[in-house]
């Protein structure tokens, strides 16, 4: 304070000492409890203080963290060899008991609006073989166990014993094994962390890290330009060109596992938002006809969407995963722009003059979501499908979409598990409450052939075999155009010159991975 009082107002120093790092985040954090709310900003901060058994590198490949290795003992048992000599921030030693405690805590966190049971519910038994060997069993073959368990942050069985969400918010229980220690959380404003000098891995480069919550896009960029923060996430695409030109800044980007796609009502005979050109409801649903869906896919000029609307910050796609990820199918190319072919297909399907359609889209959820919807509507209009755009806030949009109130919608899907099974299960598998499948299948696409191949894939522990099956399922679902894939977004960061970031496919902003040059 005294240092600050001594400075005249106008000469207020904006520079930060070299060993500290301030980063502006685009989304607010709601809790410090790593098991309370499965939300990207929460998980992002949590991963500085706590760690998982299995981690992901920037490219989305799995790497050892608190587990040194893991293997399938048999079809329903996985064995994790834990890292020895790891200490929590309070000095206590990390053992299998902490893992068991964390997995047991997940379903017991009260009032969780988004529980982590997604990743723990299939574990039926936890056997501590010795303090550094843990076996987890499941009722059915569970090839994705290391991926799912790798999502759960491990808390200390001592410091977090009986801890409430409040105890994590104040820092009392916020004791992990991660590269940074929790210092302070000022809600809606900032999170402060200090380096864990006793970290088992490579030392983090920054003594102190401050995460600032700056949700307004232009303000986040201005903070970077003014030097108040030294790095930002979620660079708005409108500022991309300008920031890239600036010699004092550097932009880091990589392709994301987030797929933007169109979902169409392929199930109902009459669908609410398809009309003839005069606006009268149609008796039959043209979206059920594969030729119509193919025509719509051909009418969309993906390279133009990527270049014009997304300012180049995306990659056009014809499938679920970006290249290089598990389940990517080399045979599936982005549908080329072909309005002539599209018109022909429409005529063949009995709609030579097209029809009327409403495209529903969120306007505050995905990068440039409303603009993308407008562009798609114009492209569809060129082949005769008069498309109206109805964009709304995400809070309204997802509730209505889940109630199947729409016929045609623009949505995004982030494959958190880094493999094709995630979008296949949620978007293309037949909707089934009992099986927990097709949760986000808002078009109710259903193909028993796909379901069978997917079920087989989900029970195949052998990786190469599983990937083959996932590719096969992708080919069926995308071949039927159960969804129309558009593009994979780029994840974007910008930093002051001299700070390097290896852009991550999973949208995470990790302070310890920003490196001084």
């Amino acid at each position: 304070m005294n240092r600050l009082l001594a400075l005249p107002l106008l000469a207020f120093s904006l520079a930060v000492p070299a060993a500290d790092l301030s980063i502006a985040l685009g989304g607010d954090v709601t809790s410090m409890d790593p098991h309370f709310h499965n939300l990207t900003p929460n998980n992002n901060i949590g991963a500085h203080v706590f760690e998982t058994l299995v981690a992901k590198d920037a490219g989305g490949r799995f790497k050892p963290a608190l587990a040194e290795s893991w293997r399938a003992v048999d079809d329903t048992t996985w064995e994790f060899k834990l890292r020895k000599g790891v200490r929590f921030h309070d000095g206590s030693i990390f053992t299998a008991a902490d893992v068991v405690y964390s997995l047991d805590r997940v379903p017991t966190v009260p009032n969780s609006p988004s529980p982590f049971t997604t990743y723990t519910k299939q574990v039926t038994d936890k056997i501590v073989v010795d303090p550094w060997t843990l076996r987890l069993k499941s009722a059915a073959p569970y090839p994705q166990m290391p991926i799912d368990i790798g999502t759960v942050l491990i808390v200390s069985s001592k410091a977090a014993a009986g801890a409430t969400t409040d105890d994590f918010n104040t820092g009392k229980a916020t004791v992990g094994t991660g590269p940074y220690k929790f210092v302070r959380w000022q809600k809606g404003d900032r999170i402060e962390l200090a380096r864990n000098d006793a970290y088992w891995g490579p030392q983090a480069p920054w003594d102190r890290v401050t995460f600032r919550i700056i949700t307004s896009d232009p303000t986040r960029v201005a903070s970077l330009l003014a030097g108040e923060v030294r790095a930002i996430e979620n660079v708005p695409t409108t500022d991309l060109a300008r920031l890239s030109r600036d010699k004092d800044l550097a932009v880091y980007r990589t392709v994301s596992v987030r797929l933007m796609y169109l979902h169409l009502d392929t199930a109902r005979d009459k669908t609410p938002f398809v009309t003839d050109k005069a606006g009268k409801p149609l008796d039959r649903n043209p979206l059920k006809d594969l030729r119509v869906r193919r025509a719509m896919s051909k009418a969309i000029n993906r390279p133009a969407l990527v270049e014009r609307v997304m300012e180049g910050a995306a990659v056009a796609t014809g499938q679920l995963m970006p290249e290089g990820f598990f389940g990517f199918t080399p045979a599936l190319k982005p549908e080329p722009y072909d309005p002539e072919g599209a018109r022909k297909l429409l005529a063949e399907a009995g709609y030579p003059d097209g029809f009327g359609l409403t495209l529903h889209a969120p306007n505050n959820r995905y990068v440039n979501d409303e603009q993308i919807a407008q562009a798609i509507a114009q492209l569809l209009a060129r082949i005769g499908i008069q498309t109206r755009v109805d964009a709304m806030p995400a809070s309204v949009y997802f509730s209505r979409g889940t109630k199947l109130e729409f016929s045609f919608m623009l949505v995004g899907w982030g494959a958190d598990t880094m493999e094709a099974s995630s979008p296949l299960k949620a978007l293309l598998a037949t909707f089934s409450k009992d099986k927990g499948m097709g949760t986000a299948n808002r078009g109710r696409y259903s193909n028993p052939k796909l379901d069978a191949v997917l079920d087989q894939a989900l029970a195949t522990v052998n990786d190469p075999k599983r990937e083959k099956l996932l590719q096969q399922a992708t080919e069926i679902g995308v071949g039927d155009l159960g969804i129309i894939p558009l593009y994979h977004q780029h994840n974007l960061w910008a930093a002051r010159r001299g700070i390097v970031y290896e852009a991550r496919a999973d949208e995470r902003t990790f302070a310890h991975e920003f490196k001084p040059r």
């Binding site: 709601t30 988004s114 997604t118 949700t215 303000t219 003014a226 949620a426 949760t439």
Partner: protein
Amino acid sequence: MLAFAAKRLAQSIVVVFIMSALVFVGVYAIGNPVDILINPQADQAEIAAATRALGLDQPLWRQYWNFISGAFAGDLGKSFAANIPAVRLIFERMPATLELALAAMVIAVLLGIPLGLWAGLKPDTVSGRAIMAGSILGFSLPTFWVGLMLIMVFSVWLGWLPPTGRGATVMVLGLPVSFLTWDGLAHLFMPALNLALFKLSLLIRLTRAGTREALAQDYVRFARAKGLSMERVVRVHVLKNIMIPIVTVTGLEFGSVIAFAIVTETIFAWPGMGKLLIDSINVLDRPVIVAYLLIIVLIFVLINLLVDLAYTALDPRVRLAGRST
């Protein structure tokens, strides 16, 4: 006086009831908060479990009943998104917003009344016209744009002021305030100015109009004819008579500055309660929305009461308890 305050309070309780019912029905009509709060990877069973955990599986009337009975026990519920009591979340953010609002009103009053008076006394001079032209700009430029321009000019180009956030705070009477440190003042200046701009223009126009009107009144001419100095005429005869509308507007505007500092708080990443409200609306965090609006209603009631008290001090003809009208 006491009866007057009690009547006001009774009215506000009715308002609070109606408002809470409206918010309940409104949020219910928009959708299920779990649809937006839950991670998309969750399956149907988990969505149902989360809906149950938040009590959203109950029929609406029961949810409202639970809220009302909780409210009478002093519990307005916990935030869906944070599992923290909604009132605590709001009170943690309130000092920042109050400070910002107060700073904005101080700027508006300290600049607005003298400038308005000047423009009223010298309407045909260049300075008088310039003030009026400036106030039109203040009215018509959108807040978010002015905010971004301020950041661009003073932070990015000139590097004089920090662009965002709240500066270092010190505790005064148990509340964190930032205007007592240089760092805090530097952070406070731009958002306060941004928020003040509209109110400033309003006060300029109001004061000018009042002054012009008062100057034409007989008592002012008489005072002048009596040989009083212009300075005394303005101070005693003009200013005192135009204060009543100014105090009313200032009071009401202060309430709206507190309640709707949202745009400024978002642009300047000011960690106040307006930003909390927007975030809560985005995820349909109903307990926070209801508690927020409830607190705002109470603030408005309180400010109106203070405004009425200020009337009696300014104008002895005004009596409380409703007899004066």
